[in-house]
Subunit: 355 residues, 2 copies
């Protein structure tokens, strides 16, 4: 295929959502749940989280067919107090479990001021920011933690991969400015970036990965011989460890040696753990005054003098906001390789392909 | 002074605590508050947080004398709900404000399961781990956030120093193993490390600081010409931003342009903001089972195969635990320069010097 044949086409969000919905129903997910999953996965794509939306659909379907995921879960609260709950996801799709968890946290934070909801027996749920952002429309800030579904990280100085790139997302509402939404892994580079470099035949900058002797690893084709580096060395290792404990161990979910690599395994439940915190701004003081202070902070940062060669100061969440505006109008870009895999999925499931 | 004249002497913790207590009383802090501050500052030294214990006393006294800190604060709850509170520290010493905040969080978490307490009009309170660890003895996990009292960090790509090295500390109890206590700034190196390199006439490794053109800055004597680097580049900038908002802006405390550099200013209140979260383990499930899972995780990490040249896998909090054991027995090491400054303080305050 040549550049001229347009390897990336645009698909309206509604078409993408309908396609995901069809696929989910076909593998036995009840209609309402399928709709909820399709809506959240499409939201991920519209927000620019390209590695966490429809891109994951073939893998999800493969794991459902392999028996690794329960298509008809009884998601329930297994333990609770006024400001917390542990949600047992009954091995359902992570999107359903985490929407339930986020709604529970928001409900409890209305009366308690702050609420912390953990989840166990969940699954991959897409981008962290999807759930951290849910409290925003209720005038709440959100914090989301999770245990990743594959261990790519050893302890600092170690060789055994016992930790994942456990992400954190924090969402904070502004008044007139774009909401601040941080969504980051605790490693310098996400694994997807390494794969992209390999595809493009480029070398990686020093600092992304090291080999088993601790030397910089810059050839992405040798990624299997090394490890991702945590941000700030032992600091990122510490963050991956404690966030993993709060998202996983605390809820009775997988952590450390118990983590299942969901990229290589289509039959074993992951027992994924997450946590979401909803912080009710009204309990702390005047909501509009708070948002105004966030506006001021954003404007101060953006108006900052810049280093030579820097075009703009970036505020976390801005990129996603731009993607949302652009993709809502023009559709979600679907690269030809992704389209081919979705076409194959459609043929396999005997459903209408993505139009 | 030569090496042979022993530039570091050991002082029993009790003597250190009594000295701090005398100094605090002499500047007008009521006896009970002075005792509380002395106990917490000494605990910082015993735990090995050398830059956050008695080392800070001359600065604290200078700021009290300058009128920047209120020696007789009415610390109170300004807003509350079942799972949260905002503490107004009335510009009292940070140790008093944060002990009050931590005790409030622990009390509320007993019934609510989780509690989040923010503070405003506080001051520098010593090491983050001091407060994150307070919930541990109540079978709770702790999370502490704060806005630092000096901006050393610009936005990523920016030149205006609008952010501090905002720290995070997370404390998680183990059963037989040492509790996990992470305590870290969101920059690669703390500013104190830069000063130490300058004193020792050494260069800094690349990655600690950059100059105003974005080039590596390795001469610590030129530290004023550059900035500390956040961990993971824009990621650490994002963490410093959102943690600062949750610790500062949310509570009506200083953040961004409002942060006062307490190293250079002895008269202006800092309006320091902090946040502490207490997580009641019993609300989530069996406490002993949780701690046992933490033991297993720690042992797995420690037993990990190691990179060449690595003697041991480090678990966050171990170093502090070792310092505590050693210093409880042998006393707190006091370098001669620190002793000289404490002797000068004693003479100035007309109190008995540190013995």
């Amino acid at each position: 295929m040549t550049e001229a044949s347009s390897p990336v086409s645009r698909v309206p969000a509604a078409a993408l959502q309908a396609f995901i919905h069809r696929a989910c129903i076909k593998v036995g997910i009840p209609d309402q749940d399928a709709g909820s999953i399709a809506e959240l996965m499409t939201r991920a794509d519209v927000n620019g989280s390209d590695g966490h939306g429809v891109f994951r659909l073939p893998q999800y379907i493969r794991r459902i067919k392999g028996g690794a995921v329960n298509v008809k879960p009884q998601i329930r609260i297994a333990a609770e107090a006024p400001a917390m709950a542990v949600v047992d996801g009954d091995n359902g799709m992570g999107h359903l479990v985490m929407r339930f968890a986020a709604e529970t946290a928001i409900r409890k934070a209305r009366s308690a001021g702050v609420a912390w909801v953990g989840a166990r027996w969940s699954n991959h749920a897409g981008p962290a920011s999807l759930y951290a952002s849910m409290p925003l429309e209720h005038d709440m800030a959100g914090v989301y933690l999770a245990v990743g579904n594959a261990n790519h990280l050893p302890a600092w100085g170690g060789l055994d991969m016992l930790l994942s790139t456990n992400p954190i997302s924090v969402a904070i509402p502004a008044l007139e400015e774009t909401n601040i939404v941080l969504d980051m892994a605790t490693t310098v580079a996400a694994y997807g970036k390494v794969k992209t470099k390999a595809q493009q035949g480029e070398t990686m900058p020093e600092g992304w990965m090291i080999d088993r002797n601790g030397a910089p690893l810059t050839d992405p084709k040798r990624a299997d011989e090394g490890f991702l580096l945590p941000i700030g060395g032992y600091k990122g290792y510490g963050l991956a460890l404690v966030f993993g404990i709060l998202a996983g161990t605390l809820n009775g979910a997988a952590m450390g040696r118990d983590v299942v690599d969901f990229n290589k395994d289509d039959t074993t439940p992951t027992n994924t753990g997450h946590a979401i915190v909803a912080i009710n701004l009204a309990a702390f003081g005047d909501v509009e005054a708070f948002k105004r202070r966030i506006d001021t902070l954003i404007r101060d940062l953006r108006a900052s003098k810049r280093m030579p060669g820097v075009d703009a100061i970036h505020i976390p969440g801005e990129g996603s906001h731009r993607a949302r505006e652009e993709r809502s109008r023009l559709g979600v870009p679907v690269p030809s390789a992704l389209r081919a895999s979705l076409d194959a999925l459609a043929a396999e499931l005997k459903i209408d392909p993505l139009r």
